[in-house]
Amino acid sequence: MTLREIAKLLNATVCIGESRLDEEVEHAFASDLMSDVLTLKDTPMLVTGLCNIQTIRTCDMASLDIIVVVRNKKVTDDMIELAEDDDMVILSCPYSMFKACGLLYDAGIKPLY
């Protein structure tokens, strides 16, 4: 599924990464716990309710570059600035973590574990 289709499915705004929307996504991982994200060997799309500068730094360290923020949390300018350095994609959607994950799973996005 492409990022463009994911954005549509989740009714999401593209905060950054417009140019990468035709990329395909196969796997996702959902967590608000950054220490958990740091244990991943793979590099799935991250679905998270944690929306602050550490979300971006954690993704940088873990080499993840696609983030879906749930519940319309405010993606701040300093987050965008940091995300720009690593050419990340950030989507922000109004849905809860439960609904966003349910829709993605239903659409065929695969879990890691």
Binding site: L33, S35, D36, L38, T39, L50, Q54, R57, M61
Partner: protein, 136 residues
């Protein structure tokens, strides 16, 4: 190559700056991405600890031809029982730390899993030093 960084107590906005800079350096040196990830994940967790649990400190990084050595030395309350602190799930983190996505007691275990050598020394009331090495 020697690099030094300062970390400041409670400064979560800048937590990860040292790790981020080390990542850039290692990439420029063409170190294998899997190894770079292990290095920066471990260093980031150590940095977060110095900011979250101590009163800040220093990050010292030495890059040699075949390995990287990292030392995160803080001034702080120290760790009374290091073996206990190393256990997955053990945490004394404040709510503020949890709000940043940490504080699940996975930091020290994450460091252990990612580095080839880990040595934690601590003196209660003085501070903690975390030494790590990763072979290239």
């Amino acid at each position: 190559m020697h690099q030094e960084y300062t970390v400041v107590e409670g400064d979560f906005v800048n937590a990860g700056k040292a790790s981020s800079s080390v990542k850039k350096t290692l990439k420029q040196l063409n170190v294998e991405p899997g190894i770079v990830k292990r290095v920066v994940v471990a260093l980031y967790e150590a940095e977060v600890n110095a900011i979250a649990h101590a009163y800040g400190g220093k990050v010292l990084v030495d890059i040699e031809s075949d390995k990287i050595k990292m030392v995160v030395a803080d001034k702080g309350p120290g760790i009374p029982d290091i073996a206990l602190a190393m256990q997955e799930g053990y945490s004394t983190a404040r709510p503020e730390v949890r709000d940043m996505g940490f504080g699940a007691g996975m930091g020290l275990p994450n460091m252990q899993k990612n580095v080839d050598k880990l040595n934690v020394t601590s003196e209660v009331g003085v501070g903690t030093t975390v030494e790590m090495e990763v072979n290239f």
